[in-house]
Amino acid sequence: MLEQVKDWDDDFYEKFKPIAMGFVNEAEKCLQCGKCTGQCPAAAVTPSYNPRKIIRDLVNGNLKRVFSSVELWQCFFCSGCYSVCPMDINFPFFVFMFRLAAMNEGYGWEDVKQLEGYAEKDYLKKGITVSTFERNPEAMETVGDISKIRMAAGLPPERKVSDRGLAEINMISDLSGMTSFMKKIGGVELLDCKTCDDAQMKRCKNKPLPAKVGKIKTKLRFYNYGEPGGKAHAEA
């Protein structure tokens, strides 16, 4: 099946701008100069990632291609594109917004699911997003007990946020819809390599594949902007 240009919604961007309250703007001024891609750290390691093409597709309204792409989730959020952009397009905000839109379409939940713990266990329970927990046993061995180092440096053994502070961020979370949003993420279950079937295996790029659990239906993303490059795919 071929897609036709008349299927694209080129009014979408104009409609979207007032909704986003000026947060996502200036993209219609894009010169397609490609400076963003030239200095992009993600584009340096995977050639299929290309901010210029993503901006073009957003302005032209080729939304299916953007939302279903893996590339939307490869941004490093380094703001380098914004710093070189002659028209001041803040592309990281676009990525942020359209990742939400892609999630609304059912893509990318497996990535977000892996990060849920930071919000649920650390940010909302302790008020601090990065905890003292070490994933890497070797790092733990080298550093040892962080509370001892903190005490030697003249700090309290553990940084604590007061109960009042915690109650406040929890209320913000409840009132602004963050809690219900996180419940949705909690409904996603990841498949591991043992349970995935042949068709899924064929498309697998060593990422946990999505599964349908609860109300969320996660879909498979595609490399819509070219073949993935980089060392990881060099042999394939």
């Binding site: 703001s79 380098g80 942020f96 919000a119 997003t129 890497n136 903190r150 700090l155």
Partner: protein, 309 residues
């Protein structure tokens, strides 16, 4: 070159609200203790609050939190400083951009500010938008004369390379004190403290954390960091200075991971600008908390031996 007009706008206050960072507190406590003590030595009394939480930038940009939750979280943290009538000093590039950008957005959008303030009023707070947010590196640059006066442990013969990180210069290209492509203020600070600046090719490249890529796209992240580390290794500095705890954690920890995965030999100590200033201002060695660092521990000890403990 730093912009003199921007630098002149930074005040030299008697007190400042000290905004703690998650990574600095829980992984590299030296950043917190050195930041606090060095500001005290330079004549600015830091003030903190235990009601201060994380800035919320990570959960927001990781798309775990709905974006509607981020504005009140920023407003809440800034209102803590406003209650004390102080400006805010942050340790982390991420906190700086997030507080600055979202605060700026609320200040210029009365409707959003109103709805955020409704939520603030429920917990007896109000966001007015009067507290400015400054990065500790720009505070140091503003106070560079005081630093020069107070150097107790000159960094004589120490080769230092810099890594500015993305979110301070790139994310705030109109609000930061320096140019996004060729910043030099950290080099100036190093020379004031008596160190030797070592240039390297990949200076302005991202550290490779990629915000969430270190968790979701580890291949991409490690590949980019390795590129950066190769360039650093070629220049062979004694210390690599960062101004963001998140870059700090990436550049420090990934060296060990690469050494393990590829039998490479990356051994460059990474330290934060607060720790470098603390080192030069003569803080006691336990205060610097180098025990929490992972890579290049031996070289770090050598540096300490050379310039005196």
């Amino acid at each position: 070159m730093p912009r003199p007009d921007k630098v002149a706008q930074i005040p030299k206050p008697e007190q400042i609200f000290f905004f703690k960072s998650c990574v600095a507190s829980n992984k590299y406590p030296g950043i917190e203790s050195c930041g606090w003590d060095s500001l005290e030595i330079l004549g600015v009394q830091p003030v903190d609050s235990d009601e201060q939480t994380c800035c919320g930038g990570f959960v927001t940009f990781a798309n775990v939190a709905a974006p509607t939750a981020s504005m009140p979280a920023v407003a809440r943290n800034l209102s803590l400083a406003e209650e004390k009538n102080l400006d805010t000093c942050v340790l982390c590039n991420g906190c700086w951009t997030f507080l600055n950008e979202f605060g700026h957005f609320m200040n210029h959008n009365e409707e959003v500010k109103g709805s955020v303030n409704m939520m603030m009023n429920m917990m007896g707070r109000e966001y007015k938008g009067t507290s400015n947010v400054y990065h500790i590196a720009e505070m140091y640059y503003r106070l560079k004369d005081d630093i020069a006066k107070n150097v107790k442990r000159p960094l004589k013969g120490v080769k230092v390379a810099t890594h500015y990180g993305c979110h301070y210069l790139g994310g705030g290209k109109y609000t930061a004190i320096d140019d996004a492509q060729m910043p030099t203020y950290m080099e100036e600070l190093i020379e004031i403290m008596g160190g030797t600046v070592v240039p390297y090719t990949a200076n302005r490249e991202c550290c490779g954390t990629g915000f969430t890529q270190i968790i979701n796209g580890k291949d991409l992240s490690l590949e980019h960091t390795q590129h950066k580390l190769d360039s650093v290794k070629e220049a062979d500095p004694d210390l690599l200075i960062v101004q963001c705890p998140y870059c700090h954690s990436q550049l420090d920890r990934v060296q060990q991971q690469l050494n393990y995965r590829q039998a490479a030999a990356y051994e460059t100590p990474v330290i934060h600008i607060t720790q470098l200033v603390g080192l030069a201002l003569g803080l006691a060695v336990p205060k610097l908390a180098f025990a929490a660092h992972i890579s290049g521990r031996k070289r770090l000890e050598d540096v300490l031996d050379r310039i005196g403990r």
